[in-house]
């Protein structure tokens, strides 16, 4: 089970693992939590494990690459209709939050 780092602190056993959680940079980033929420719209198609066949894996990408690729759908530089619709529904801030979250996945 993939434990969500940022919610570990809310657990009764937090004292045991809080040091580990604090070592993860995303811990301090509100965008990670928001990105995690938004990512549930991506996971029907893109697996968090990083496995990809038929649909590309999007985990572990540097943040700027993730943002650039997503924006390329908005600009029409890439054609996939499903992704164009996804990007159309997302603000710049939401794409950044997703980038922050997905950068940490599949590693």
């Amino acid at each position: 089970m993939r434990i969500v780092r940022t919610r570990i602190a809310a657990l009764p056993v937090a004292g045991m693992i809080i040091g580990l959680a604090a070592s993860v940079p995303a811990q301090a980033d509100d965008r990670y939590d928001y990105g995690e929420y938004l990512s549930s719209e991506c996971t029907p198609c893109h697996r968090l494990s990083g496995d990809g066949d038929g649909i590309p894996a999007i985990t572990g990408w540097p943040i700027d690459i993730f943002v650039t690729v997503m924006e390329s759908y908005r600009e029409g530089a890439q054609e996939n209709e499903a992704m164009k619709s996804v990007v159309k529904s997302l603000s710049k801030e939401q794409i950044e939050a997703l980038a922050v979250f997905f950068e940490k996945q599949g590693q």
């Binding site: 089970m1 919610r7 809310a10 928001y34 938004l38 198609c45 697996r47 649909i55 499903a82 619709s85």
Partner: protein, 424 residues
């Protein structure tokens, strides 16, 4: 299984003495808040998994499912066409139990007592809840056609709840002589998987073209138009020329009766005789949704578009095909999407976790041939009183073969991902 049920029953019975006579939050009084989910399909299993995953054990999650495994309706047409094995579309609940600590109970939910917040199974066992999710999928209006009945489905499979029905239909197609006629009755709106009957026509045609090329397919439709119509009709003509005849409502006047023994549909126009007959009956919300009072006079369950909470029964939510999700089609993708909004709302209610703006999405891929896939999809938002589409897209007729092959490949990737998202 029996041990688990007994242990579970014991704990509830033991706790019942404490809570007896108190209507307010009986389960919370016993410790962790309790979520009970009825139905282990794309909607129910996703709610259970997301609540368990994101609450990190703070919520006790029980998933009640009638069967030990779930065969997905999506991609079951590919099994009929010979593109998929039955095993590849059948999934168990092991990971939900082992990786997410969900108490998966095999049983049939028979009744909901909303005042006591308690679900009773057909074996008499009871499950208390603080929040209840009802995701039973569809049930059929067996009485819609004279001569038809639930028992008739053994001979005339609907195969619209995937499993043994789908296997029965496949066996009948395998047993049919070359030159036989496959007749499919497509249901009226609203129904599960709007493009599904037409994908089924394509997949059965694919099987027949390769194995029994003199055979014919007739579709008797309860409608005059259907999802992705231009795409399917183009694809049928391209791949299965001369094999498929689609009869809209305006031509037949609809099915008036079914002669089960002779596999014949009686319409206002002609009687239509089949060698293999596949009647997909008109539909309504699953039985437990009806029994629990969640459905309105339409036969479907109204919900709050921001949370998927029932507007009729307190502390209950409905996701997936049983719900009235307005602009969202009844699909596995929709159910999975609604389930995530529902899971977030339930966690927020039970543990005070943050509630973000609800977001909904659907994409439906359909296979016309092994290398010819098409898709339709949309973004949705919670409107004031219903879920509303904000942006839609659909594949175009005349697309290049390479794009269609890419879309077919995409469908395969989507399947692998969404079943992971649902079942872990």
């Amino acid at each position: 299984m029996n041990r688990k049920l007994t242990r579970r029953e014991f704990s509830i019975i033991a706790g019942a003495g404490v809570a007896a006579g108190t209507l307010a939050a009986p389960a919370i009084a016993q410790g962790k808040p309790k979520l009970v989910v009825i139905g282990g399909g794309p909607g129910g299993a996703t709610v259970a998994r997301y609540v368990a995953k994101d609450s990190n054990g703070a919520i006790d999650v029980t998933l009640i499912e009638a069967y030990p495994t779930h065969t997905t309706c999506f991609f079951s047409n590919l099994y009929l066409g010979g593109l998929r094995t039955f095993d590849s579309i059948t999934h168990n609940y092991n990971k939900l139990k082992s990786d997410y600590g969900i108490n998966v109970v095999q049983g049939f939910a028979a009744a909901v007592d909303a005042a006591k917040r308690e679900v009773t199974l057909s074996d008499g066992s009871k499950y208390a809840y603080d929040k209840l999710v009802v995701a039973p999928g569809i049930d059929f209006k067996w009485e819609a056609y004279d001569g038809f009945s639930k028992a008739a489905a053994d001979e005339i499979p609907h195969a619209w709840q995937a499993g043994t029905q789908t296997q029965t239909l496949r066996k009948q197609l395998e047993a049919m002589d070359d030159g036989g006629t496959f007749v499919i009755a497509a249901p009226p709106n609203p129904f599960r998987c709007p493009p599904g009957p037409y994908e089924r026509i394509a997949m059965v045609a694919h099987y027949l073209k390769a194995n029994k090329p003199k055979s014919k397919i007739i579709c008797v439709d309860a409608k005059d138009k259907f999802s992705k119509q231009a795409l399917f009709q183009e694809g049928w003509a391209q791949h299965y020329a001369g094999m498929i005849e689609w009869l809209p409502l305006k031509i037949t006047g609809g099915i008036k009766a079914i002669d089960v023994k002779n596999k014949t549909l009686k319409t206002d126009a002609d009687d239509i005789k089949a060698d293999v007959l596949n009647v997909i009956p008109p539909q309504k919300a699953g039985a437990i949704a009806m029994a629990a009072g969640l459905a309105n006079e339409s036969g479907w369950c109204p919900i709050d578009p921001a949370t998927m909470a029932s507007t009729r029964v307190p502390n209950a939510y409905v996701v997936g095909d049983s719900s009235i999700a307005a602009a969202m089609p009844k699909s596995g993708f929709s159910a999975n999407s609604q389930a995530k909004v529902c899971a977030m709302a339930i966690r927020s209610e039970l543990t005070g976790s943050k509630m973000f703006d609800p977001r909904y999405r659907n994409t439906c891929w359909s296979m016309i041939a092994p290398d010819n896939g098409v898709k339709v999809g949309a973004s949705y938002k919670a409107g004031a009183d219903k879920i509303e589409a904000t942006d839609t897209f659909i594949s175009k007729t005349g697309e290049e073969a390479a794009l269609r092959a890419e879309t077919a490949n995409e469908a395969s990737g989507w399947y692998a991902s969404i079943v992971t998202d649902i079942f872990g």
